[in-house]
Each structure stands twice: as C-alpha cells, then as structure tokens.
Subunit: 314 residues, 6 copies
Amino acid sequence: MARLPRIADLDGSSSGTGFYLCTRKERRTGQKGAFLALVLQDVSGEIGAKVFTDVEASDAQFDAGEFVAVQGRGNLFNQKLELILDKVRRVIPDDATRGFREEECIRASPRPVDEMWSELEGRIASIAHPQIRALIVRVIDRYATRFRVWPAAVTVHHDYRSGLLEHVLKIIEVVTAQAEAYGVSRDLLIAGAILHDIGKLEELSYTLATEYTTEGNLVGHITIGVGIVRDAAREIPDFPTDMLLQLEHLILSHHGSRENGSPVEPMTVEAFILAAADDLDAKIHQVRRHIADDDSDGSFTGYHKRLGRVLFKR
Amino acid sequence: MARLPRIADLDGSSSGTGFYLCTRKERRTGQKGAFLALVLQDVSGEIGAKVFTDVEASDAQFDAGEFVAVQGRGNLFNQKLELILDKVRRVIPDDATRGFREEECIRASPRPVDEMWSELEGRIASIAHPQIRALIVRVIDRYATRFRVWPAAVTVHHDYRSGLLEHVLKIIEVVTAQAEAYGVSRDLLIAGAILHDIGKLEELSYTLATEYTTEGNLVGHITIGVGIVRDAAREIPDFPTDMLLQLEHLILSHHGSRENGSPVEPMTVEAFILAAADDLDAKIHQVRRHIADDDSDGSFTGYHKRLGRVLFKR
Amino acid sequence: MARLPRIADLDGSSSGTGFYLCTRKERRTGQKGAFLALVLQDVSGEIGAKVFTDVEASDAQFDAGEFVAVQGRGNLFNQKLELILDKVRRVIPDDATRGFREEECIRASPRPVDEMWSELEGRIASIAHPQIRALIVRVIDRYATRFRVWPAAVTVHHDYRSGLLEHVLKIIEVVTAQAEAYGVSRDLLIAGAILHDIGKLEELSYTLATEYTTEGNLVGHITIGVGIVRDAAREIPDFPTDMLLQLEHLILSHHGSRENGSPVEPMTVEAFILAAADDLDAKIHQVRRHIADDDSDGSFTGYHKRLGRVLFKR
Amino acid sequence: MARLPRIADLDGSSSGTGFYLCTRKERRTGQKGAFLALVLQDVSGEIGAKVFTDVEASDAQFDAGEFVAVQGRGNLFNQKLELILDKVRRVIPDDATRGFREEECIRASPRPVDEMWSELEGRIASIAHPQIRALIVRVIDRYATRFRVWPAAVTVHHDYRSGLLEHVLKIIEVVTAQAEAYGVSRDLLIAGAILHDIGKLEELSYTLATEYTTEGNLVGHITIGVGIVRDAAREIPDFPTDMLLQLEHLILSHHGSRENGSPVEPMTVEAFILAAADDLDAKIHQVRRHIADDDSDGSFTGYHKRLGRVLFKR
Amino acid sequence: MARLPRIADLDGSSSGTGFYLCTRKERRTGQKGAFLALVLQDVSGEIGAKVFTDVEASDAQFDAGEFVAVQGRGNLFNQKLELILDKVRRVIPDDATRGFREEECIRASPRPVDEMWSELEGRIASIAHPQIRALIVRVIDRYATRFRVWPAAVTVHHDYRSGLLEHVLKIIEVVTAQAEAYGVSRDLLIAGAILHDIGKLEELSYTLATEYTTEGNLVGHITIGVGIVRDAAREIPDFPTDMLLQLEHLILSHHGSRENGSPVEPMTVEAFILAAADDLDAKIHQVRRHIADDDSDGSFTGYHKRLGRVLFKR
Amino acid sequence: MARLPRIADLDGSSSGTGFYLCTRKERRTGQKGAFLALVLQDVSGEIGAKVFTDVEASDAQFDAGEFVAVQGRGNLFNQKLELILDKVRRVIPDDATRGFREEECIRASPRPVDEMWSELEGRIASIAHPQIRALIVRVIDRYATRFRVWPAAVTVHHDYRSGLLEHVLKIIEVVTAQAEAYGVSRDLLIAGAILHDIGKLEELSYTLATEYTTEGNLVGHITIGVGIVRDAAREIPDFPTDMLLQLEHLILSHHGSRENGSPVEPMTVEAFILAAADDLDAKIHQVRRHIADDDSDGSFTGYHKRLGRVLFKR
C-alpha cells in the first residue's frame, strides 16, 4: 500500500499508510454510534483525523501522546482537510523497519537544532561586555536542555520543537544589523534577544505537547524572565546595576505596549528596536504559515483572523 | 500682622504671614524684569506663589526643598488661586517661637501615622496562615521606615506623607468585608492589600519631594514588588509554592487589566476583589480631593480631567 | 434503572432516567433522517440533548416549555457534555410518585427564596430616612411577585429563578460595609442596590424562560427603572428632590461608564461604590460558574470568552 | 469716536466704542498690579477682553451678566484676537440713543425666532397621526417659552439664543426628505426631531448664560426627555403603547452609540435616520463656525480639536 | 410535483422542484459516506443545500457556477433553513418550457436595471458645472457595462446584481436634498455619489459570483477610484484643479474615518454629507435585509453581528 | 560682545549676539504695551524669542521668513528656554564678514546632503530588476531638486532640511538587512523605501518653512505617491503589472494600519517589513530629539506627549 505524504503535502486524493504523533484523542457519539476524533502531527504540520470503523477496538489501541501507525485517506470537510482512518494502532518496535522515525513525527523547526545551537554559541561569544556575556552563559547553561527544544508559544507562531531557539536567532540577526544602523549597544540587544522570552521555559511545559504551567498562567513569562535574570546577576561579581536594569527593561517592555502585556513601555532605543523585531518576526511567521497552509485557488489566502486580513500569495 | 490660614482654607481675600515648604523655585523674566515662581505646601495642600519685588535678594534667600517664612496675599489668576508674596526668606531657628512647626508644613495623611501603624500591626497579627504572616512580618520589618512615610503616588491620589499606609489600611478594611461576603481567603486578601504597592518603596524616592527612581521607571513597582515578595519567601521555611504564586498573582494583576499596566489579569476571586478595591479607593480619593479643592459656586465641581466628568458637591 | 445525577454532576459515563424542564426543542435532518435537538435544565444547571430514535413519536410527546421524563446517557461531543436520549415523554401526574419535583427541574438560586425575602425586608426596615424607606416599600410592594422569582439577566450571570434577588442582597452586603468604610450614606446605597436593576422586572419577561420584552429592547432597564422610581416618588409626600435625583443618578450610572450603557457616569461617592459592587458581583458570579462548569483536567479552566482569560481552579 | 464693528468682524486694527453683554468678569494680579479679564458677546459671537487702566473704578462699574459700554481696540495675543479696553461701564438708559439694542448684544441664531416658530407650527400641523400630533402639541405648549430661546448646548454647537429651535428645524428638513427616500414614518421622524433634545429644557438653565442644572448633570437630557414624553402621553387618551415605545426609543438612541451616551442603540430605520441627521447637523455647525472664526491665511483653518483635523475654507 | 417557492419564501415545510444558480459545490465525507454541500441562489436570496443520495452521480451532473434543476424539501438545521435535495442536475434547454428563467435565478436589485439607468442619466444631465458633467459622462461611458450590473460589495450590503447602481441612486436622492438644506454644491455631491465607489468596478470581479481582484486587495477601491477620476480629468480641457481635488477628497474621505479605511477624513461640508449618506444607506440596507431574513417569532430579530444588536421588526 | 552659542547649546546664562532665521513674528499687547513674539532657528534647532524694547522700530526691521541679527540673553520661562532680545534687525550683506552663513541658520539634517545623495544613487544602482530601477530613476530625476532638501514632515520627526532623504536612507539600510534575513525581495524593499513618502514632495511645500499644500490636505501623501508611481510606470515599457501593484501596495500600507492612515494593511512580507522600519525610524528620531532637547536633571527626560512616556537618558 502507498505511503501517505507528509502532512504539509496531503490533499483530498491522498490515501495510504503513515506514522504520526497523536496529540489528542476524543470519543464522540454521532447519529449512528461512537467515533474517534484525533489530532495527528508530523514534522511538517498537524491535521484532524476521524475513525468511524472498529471504534471500540481502535480506541483501546493507543492513547493521546503516543505515536501511531495509520491507514486512511484525505477528505475535505467544511473547506478544511482531514484524514478518515480505516486502521490505527500504537507504533511498535518493528515499525522502525517500516520507516518509522520518531523525529519525523514531531512538528519541529525546519532548521536542525545542532546547527542553531552552534549559531547561538557564536552569538554569545561575540558579546564584548564581560559581565553581560557571563550572565547569558550562566542562564543558558542552566536552561540548555529546554532551550534546545522549547517552542516559542502554545499556538500563534513558532509553536513547535525548537521554535523558541529559531525565533531568538532570527531576532539576533535583525537587531545586530539595527544596532549597527542606529549606533546603539550590540551587547544589550543580543542579550535582550536571548533573554526576552526566557521566562517561557518556566511559563510553558513541553514534552510532546505544549501547555501553560500554573506559574505561567498566574505570573507570566515576562515577570518570570526578569526573576531568572535578576537571580543570575546576583551570582556575577560586580554586575553593574545600570546594565541589569536595562536588561530587565528590555524583557519587560518587549511586547511594546501595555495593551500587549508589557507592564512598562520601551524607554531606550534598544528597547524600541527589540520590541519591533520581536513583533515583526512573529508576524512574518504567521504570514508564512498561513500562506503555506492555504489550499484555496487564486492569489490570496483565506482570511487570517488574528491579523484581520487576507494575505498575498503571489 | 495676621497669620495666613492653612493652604486648604486660603481665598482671594487672604493676606498675612505663614510658614511653608517650598518644593519648586524658578526664576523667570517677564516684560518688566525677573520674578520668582514658587510652589509652596503645608500639611493641608499645595499652592503656586509669585514674587515680583526684591527678586534678586529674595532669590538668594532660600532654595527649593527648604522651609520658608512668607508675607503675602491670595490672588485669583485664570480661575486658580495663587499667592503673591511681598517677602520670603528661609526659616530660621527663632521661627519656632513664631509658630513654625515642620510637620505642619509637609502635606500628609489626615490620620496620625502612629495610629495607622498600630492598625497595620493588628491586621498583620490577624493573619491566620503562619507562613503568609511570617512573610508579611519580614517584608514590613525590612521596609518599616519607608512604609510609615511613603506617599502612594507622585500625583493622582494619596500623594503625600504616609499616603501609602493610609491607602493600604482602607483597602484592608474593604477587602476583609468582601472576603467574608464571598467566602474567600481573608489571609490572602490582607497580604495582597499590604503587598500590592510594596514595590513603590523602591519605585519612588521620597524625602520632601516624590520622584521616580531609575528602577521605578525602567522596571516599575509591580515587577519590583514581585521580586521583594519572592526574595522574602525564600527565607521562610516551607513557604507553599501555590500560596506564593497566588500572592505574586495578586500583585501582578492588581491594576485589573493589561491596558492599566497589569501584565496578567485577575484569575482568582481574590484577585478580582483586590483590583476592584484598589481602583475604588484611588477613585474615591480623587473625587474627594477634587471636591475639596473646588472653589466654584454651585452644586458641581469643575471638570476633572482624569475622571472625565464634573462631580456632585451637594 | 439507575437515576441520572443532577445536571451539574453528569459526566460521560452517566446513564439512567431523570426529570427535566425542556426549554428548547428543534427538529433537524441529518444524513440518516430526522433527529431532535433539545435543551434541558434542572435546579443545578442546563445541558443539550439529542434524540435519534423514534423521532416522530418522541416529537409528538411534548413541547418546549414542558417538564419531561427521559432515559439516556452522557456523551462528550466537541469537548462539551451532552445527553443522548433513548426515551423522552411529557411528565404525567404519576411521576410525582417516581420522584418528580417541579422545583427541582427549574434552574434557581442556591439560596431559598423565603430566606432571601426575609433578609431583604430586614434591609429595607434598616433604612433610616423615612421617605427613602417609604419609596422602597412602595416599589417592592408593587413588584413583590416578580422580584421574588426574577432572574438578573437572560444569560451572563444570575440568569435563573430568584437570581435578581440573590444578586441584590449580595450587593447590599458589600455596599453597607463600604458605606461604613467611606462614611457615606448607607440609606442611599441600600436603596440604590435594591433599585439599580428594578427596571429588569419590565425589561424581561420570565415564566420558565427569560426573554426581552419590547419595552426592554427599545427602552432598556436603566431608563425603565428611573421611570418606576420617579412615579413612586410622586406618591410619597414631600419626597426631597435632591434625594430623588441622587437615587435616579445611582440607577443611571450603575453600569459605570457610557461604553457599558450608562448614559451618565458616577458623580457621587455612592455612585462609584454601587457601580463597583455591581460589576464585581457579576464578575465573581461568572468566575464561579465557569469554574463549576469546567470539566477539564489541570488547575485552570478553559478560556472564558467574555472575561477573555482562563481562570484558576486551584 | 468710531463705532467698533460686530465681534465677528473685529480684527487687530479695530478701535472705537461698542455695546456688549459681559458674561464673565474676573480680577487678576499681574506683575504690575491688578487687571480685569472679561468675556464679552454680541449677536455675532464672543471675545475675551482685558482692562489694565483704572482697574478699581472699572471693576466697581458693572457685574458679569450685565450689558456694558466700552471703548477699546483689537489685539492679537497668542494668535487669538482680544479686546484691550480703555473704558468700560454698565449700560444706562440713555445708551439707547447711542445705538444700544439689547437683542444685538446677545449671541443668537441668525434666523429670526418668530419665523422659526411659524415653521415649527407648520411642521407640527403636518403630522398625520392624531395622537402623535396631540402629544407634540401638549409638550410644545408646556415648554413654548423655553423652546423659543433655548440654546442647543453649553458649547460645541448652536450654543446661543434659539439655537435649539434652529437645530430642530434643520433636522426636520433633512429627516422628512429621508422618510420619503426610505419609505418610513414621516410622523415618527418629525416627532423624534422635535423631542430628541426636549430634555435640554430641563438639563440646562439659560438666562443670559447657559449652565447645567443639578438634574441636568445627575440625570441628563436623554432620560429627562423620555420622562417628559411619558408624562405627556399619559394625558393623551388611547396613546398607542407601541408608538410611545418607538418615540422613547428615538430619544434614547439619538446619540447613535453607547459610547456617545445613548443607553440603547438604534433598532429601527427611523432611529438610524434621526441619529445620523442629528450628528451631521451638529458637525456641519461646528465646521462652519470654525471656518467663520478662523483668521489664518491660506485655504485651511487651524486644527479643530474636537473634530481632530483642519478644515477646507476654499 | 409542486413548485418550490422563491428562496425568500421557503420554510421548513416547503417541498417540490425549482431552478437555481449553484454558486458553490463541495464534496464532503461524513460518517456514512460522501455527500454534497451546495449554495444555491435565485433573484430573491440564497440558501445552503445538501445532497445525501446518489452522490457520485449527482456530483458528475453539474459544476459550481451553473444553473441547476432540483427536487427537495426545506429543513431547519441549527436554527437556519437549508434544502435537502433528492435530485439535482444541470439545467437543459428544455427547462425553459418548465419555467426556467435565467434572470430569476440570479440575486439582483429589486429595481429594474433599465429604470435605474434612466434615472442615473437624468441625474447626470442635471449637473450644472460643465466640466464636472463631462467628467462623469466620460467615466460612466467607459464603465457603463459594469456599472449596470455590478454589486456594491462582496457581502455586507447591496451584494447582488446591479446593487452598486441601486446604492448610488439612493445616495444621490438623499444628498441632493441635503445640498439644498445646507446650501452646498449639488454638483459636487451628485458627482461624489456617482464616483465614490467607482473603484469597485476594478476592485471586484463579477460574473455570477463576486470576488476581489489582485488590484482590489492590494490597492483597494478608494485609491483605484481616485486614479480613474484623475485620468479622466486629464482628458477634459481646463478641468479646474480645485474641483478635481475636492472630487478626489470626496472619494478618499467617504468612509468617514481612518479606522474605516479613509486615508483622509472629511474636511468640507460636502464630504461630511456624502460620508454620512453612504454610511446610512449601507446600514439601512443591512437592517432591512436582516429583518427580511429573520424567521424567528416575536417583535425582534436575532442578533445582528456586524451591527451588534437585535432589530425591531414591529 | 560675545557670540551666542548654537541654539542646541543655549542655556539660561547665555548672552551675546547671533544670526538666525526668523520663522514666525507676531505682535502682542501685554499689560505695559506691545511686544514681539518670535520663533528663531539655526542648523541645530529652534527657540522662542521675545522683544520688549523698541518694539515699533524692531517690528519694522524685518519680516517672518527672513534672516536676522540679534543681541540678547537666555531665559527660563515655564521650564522652557527662550531668548529675550535687546536688539534685532534684518541681516545685511556686510554680516557675512561678521560670521553670518545662511546654511548655518537653517535647521537641517546633520548629514551633508551631497554625501546622502551619493549614497542614494548607489542604492538605486544596486537594484537588480531593470524596470523597477528604471522607474525609480525616472521618479528621482523628476523630483531631485525637492528630494535633496525636503523635510520628512511638518513636525514630529525629520522636520528639517533634507530630513526626508536622511529618513529614506536609514530605512534602506535597515530593510536591506531584513530582506537578507527573511529572504524576500531586496529590490522591492529599496524601491518601497525610496517611494513610500514620495507623495510628501507634493503634500508639503517647503521653502524656509514647511506647510501642507491644498492637495496635501485634501488628498494626502499616500494617495499622491501612488499617482506619481502609476504615472511613471506608464512610461516604462513592459512594466510588469504585478510588480506595480506590489509597489503601490508598499506605499499604501506603509503606515501599518487603517487607524494610522493606511487604506490597506500589509499583505506581503515586504510590506510588513517596510511599515515596521518606517515606524521604528520615526520613533527613534523622536526619542533622540526628545533626549537631546531635555534640559532636566536626572536620568529621565520629561514626559513625551506623543509617545506617552518619559525616556531614559542614561
């Protein structure tokens, strides 16, 4: 039997077998009895799926959070593509011989994580100010395991494995150019880019799914991030107060306005630059995913709710 | 010569001598030469003043931030009362015999500070939860000197000596009643009321004038307050994480909405109650001061810019 | 056969028989023929239900607005619990012997109405100002039948039998404490709390369902309420004009801002207090119901659309 | 000595004598002693004026609210024209022989009031629905004295003698055309146009100055207006409830949105038309006055704060 | 077999045969296999339809964008009426003998297009200013084919055949009355009414469906319209610059505010009038259609999302 | 006599002689007679000035728009620095020998215009797409004289000689880096940066003062700019439609949102980048000027009205 293409490449005529991570499983009752409603993902994206046959048996086969082997076909429902599954079961060791690769079943950044990590280390090494560099090294050492794999958000943008790292590196690329253009502190901007979302490593839990922690909801990543930086600075001898306050300010003001959740708004040129770069990178990511996800004909995508407009596909 | 009444009781026909704190002094040049523009205050309020005579000599007599003895008369200018001074000089030791009392020249809460401090201690003693009480004791011990005299703000409301303490006690009075009415945690609400503006003790500097500190502007009292509480909690053995997060949440959400500067919005009934009580107390203070300051005829005050309306004086 | 638990306690594994009020019945056609879509309620809440079997016969058995006896089971559909009914018929007199109690099938305040009514009478008796008390007595006398059972709203909060009375009593409890704290008129605040939503008794019709009347939509409860008070005041000899205008102002401004539907905004301390208490009580009710209705795992509820956030369940 | 031109025609080179109504008088002290700051008006507009000579004597000559005879010259101060007065005294009977006419000293509608009143009576007579016509006749009879002279507002637009009548007639002219264009009730629209601001007759007091009454501030003209109409309708036998509710709705919704102070928003085509016509007439009045008041060179006026833009003068 | 009534007159008990334009066709898979989801329209409105029988065969019978002959019955689904079709096929020439009329199957203005076109020509002829009239003639000549049939929008209002023409004529009717009432330029207002949406003829493509063009999305009808007018003016000898700028201003400002998409806001009385008339006509159209579409009982419609309220049906 | 320092370096103790451009002159009357109120500028900034002596004679000496020689001293008035002039007259040819240089008396970009122009030409030459480059060359050729000296705005930012050119070059620097970072069209972004404000060359008139033209006010620079580009494109053979629409979209959407005056919002990644770069450059300019203009003590500036915050000076 044919192999189903990657999720990003599926269409209404696809059919065959495939391996996915099942991130949600729910049993529902329709007019003619129970069925299963699933969400599946692979490295390229995610998709809804339904099981109408052998529901009892299928349901017993696996749980949400497990990798599954399926057989099914694409279907367009309410202008949205879904999979109708004839068979579904938990992945078994032998599946490796049939082409199952765990890393191919998890939505992830298109850039290899080791390549990104090297780039990050290079950026850190380029910080001239010794205490700032020491602070970043300390924070990154403590959080390296998470920083390598964490998503940048639950949804919205970069919401997949290593998404935060990808997002941070792109911001560094942009703000270092602007530090040059406007003659402001490259060191503060690189540090700010690395630290701006550092609180997300405590705000979110991430295994194969992403969720808010209790601290994440009640306190939020901006305040958590300031705490992480403040604690780390205490361990660096002679960390200049002024620098610390400016770093904290970069984290606190990076959403740009109070309406967007920053308790203080940018008061330094570096803070204006960082907030603008963060906003732009998040928006460009949304634009590109929406264009990639769009299956409609014509030069424009369907309406993007969050951005409040259609987008030009060319 | 007659003694001028307290600033709150001055009118266009007042004339005589008085003692004040001069909080601002500026030399200006008009059509006919230099004059001095001052801001004076006493325990009851503040007022603008001008010196047109012997400007050179008067200017050399004192600096902003000093207590002064003056002779002058009230004057209505652009519908606002001001003092026209014929004489002004720095206060000298002998002035004590003429009725000068330093504490009468500083804008301050109408309630005696010792009475308020006792009330606060009683409130703290009434907290049942041992670690929360211990946390409050520790924070208050560290900041007692400031907490006794700090204003609640640079302007807007309770912007005078011991204003923060007065504001906190009124909120405690209100939220303990609501804790009862809604069956929620009295301990959390008392603690939240005491801590909600604790960051103001670092956000503002206060001697005879109130100003934002560098940390106050770049970081803000909400984030500073969370840091103070988090540090204090580390020193309390077995402080329950859950309680700490709820306390931090009370501080973070007490402005009620992101637009008003809270990075997270109330997610617990206690947080809704505290934010509402803080907002109401600040508004009532503004209403009452505006009514007290209003010299117009009729049943209504002039327009209150911040509240966007006139107020009913009765 | 087992008895179904109260609606508030149902889950996906519940099955058995039960009595409910059916508040909506609609016939729909799916792929395999017609089915019935119902909304059922009991004293503890409401739920959607579907009938796929014997649709013709079942449909003929009862109408919306009638009490029904059902047999069925819980089902999770799109993350929302519903009932799938195998049998449904109109309640018959004999059902009393099977446990049917009309009052248990109507969503209602958790507090007994007689207890609440006594509390209200005590509050009215405590008003010191004779004409204000007389006015309240007159208004309440005229509307007693409705005031005992009316909901406070069509949806949003306290949208069940005697919800308005429950809401008013909680507000009285809160504002009398604040009248004390701020030294303002207890009489005006009790009267304002009782009258603020009095127009709802004309704005809404309520039998077993709640709906807007023509006057309710075209005029609204705020203006209706002022009319009721103005008419009643005319019948009280020597009702002081000033008091009447302040009472009308309390009603008119109780939504707090023009954006929220108040044509004038609070201009007295009492009006600020009443508007804050009304808003807080409505919000706390929404928070608590959302937490009670939430079946998700974890410490937080799902997203609350109106409040725009998740809530902490503890 | 030359006669000063009408206020609308004054410029920086005007000088001579004139008669005005003084609506504000305030004594101020500048560097070189006291001076008087006045506001003067005549039928064509209003202007600020200052008296620097013989201040004591001048001050004793007249009060705000009186007609005055002045001698002075125009002066441009901060880009705004004012009058500098050398002499000013209360008007005396003999001034009639010198050209004083009371009606020429009061800002008023450019249209003669008797002409406007006839037009209004004709409009009322044209209402076909007998009870609506009876209602309008009753309301207008009761308020004729005020309706003839009342301004439409304290400031903003039509804020002069008979301004309300002028505003109402223009709205009638526009909405009758639209009743025709859209095939809706001409009777309701004429009645709505006449009644929409009827509450202003109680909201504002007007003698030679315009002020809010206590009821005006605490209750507002929209709610007052509904009360006037409701009371009048009770005196008309068989006034159809439905019509009354629609009339009340027209009054309540005529500000168009809750943000603008309407507690309910238009729900009928007539209500949409009336709200649009009221808004447009007020805006056109502001545009035209701003253009008329503008003394700047070039094709555009200075910035209009309320409208938030400059305007094209042609 | 009975003939189905016009779409506007269908209800849940309708059944029979009919002819429609199919504007959307989609194949979906449900629990029990594939079905077709269609959108059908006739001159009176549009409706959703489903085909559950002979899906393969039916699907092969016709495409979206074709006229179809159907047999089916009305069904209420989620409080919305739809058609369940037993048979559906492409229209054939013989259907003319069975009552098929193409023009009856296309949603269109209730007014005959030839009647409207004559009215437009009369309006143009009435323009006194020779160059403005020449400009309009030139633009209309170029776009006559489109102007006769174009809708005014993709959805929202007048979104059917000849809807733009109907909308323009109604605005002319209203603004000519206001030109008279306010003594402003009738010529500019008629021209502005005709030209204000002229860019829609390039912004939208319209055959049997309405869609945004690439230029429509990237540039928008306001800017396109200014370009059309500017180009046409170049071909009129001695077109006065001033008039051209005012015409362009009318087009640019006709959405009334920047928030609504006008890059400049009204600065002339004519621009205020045109923007108000356009807004009012669009709103009245929405109100009337919502009332016409509403099948609910009672005096009020269901909630209108865009207008944010229910509407009074009488 | 000493020479006054540049305006940017003046303080309250400065006194001496200097040369300036007088951009505003107004005669006012105070208590003791007439005085002159002026606005003066040099290359470094602008300042208010007053003349109290020999007013008649001084007034006759020069007009606004002329260069003047003055003698005077700095004065702090209402916390703002101004100049009090003892002498002022029109510049005469001989002043060249006393140090008068016209170019030093006009507020201008800190970068030499020839250097900037070369940089612009280099950027244009680097555009790879031949028709886009041809289009830019044509537009720039036509407007070179203006483009070299035009300010970017009347106030707000870069509101001085050659300010537009300086602003455009900085944007090019930033967006070319981002074109690289995001892999989008460098050609479109350079062209968009050059053209985004091209309409300002018609929107504003600039000789020694900057003003809106009639077209500028009624039409606005965004629409004017699209017209300029559209006209130029017609003259380039085979200009690809698609490219033209994207260029027009870049101009139209560069304010980022409808609220900020863009009739369409960014729909391409290039448009998001350009709008962000324009906004950031304008904000950084405001931040830096506010910091430069601030004479207060401490680490923070006074409140910046437009940005709604204080700024960190370090």
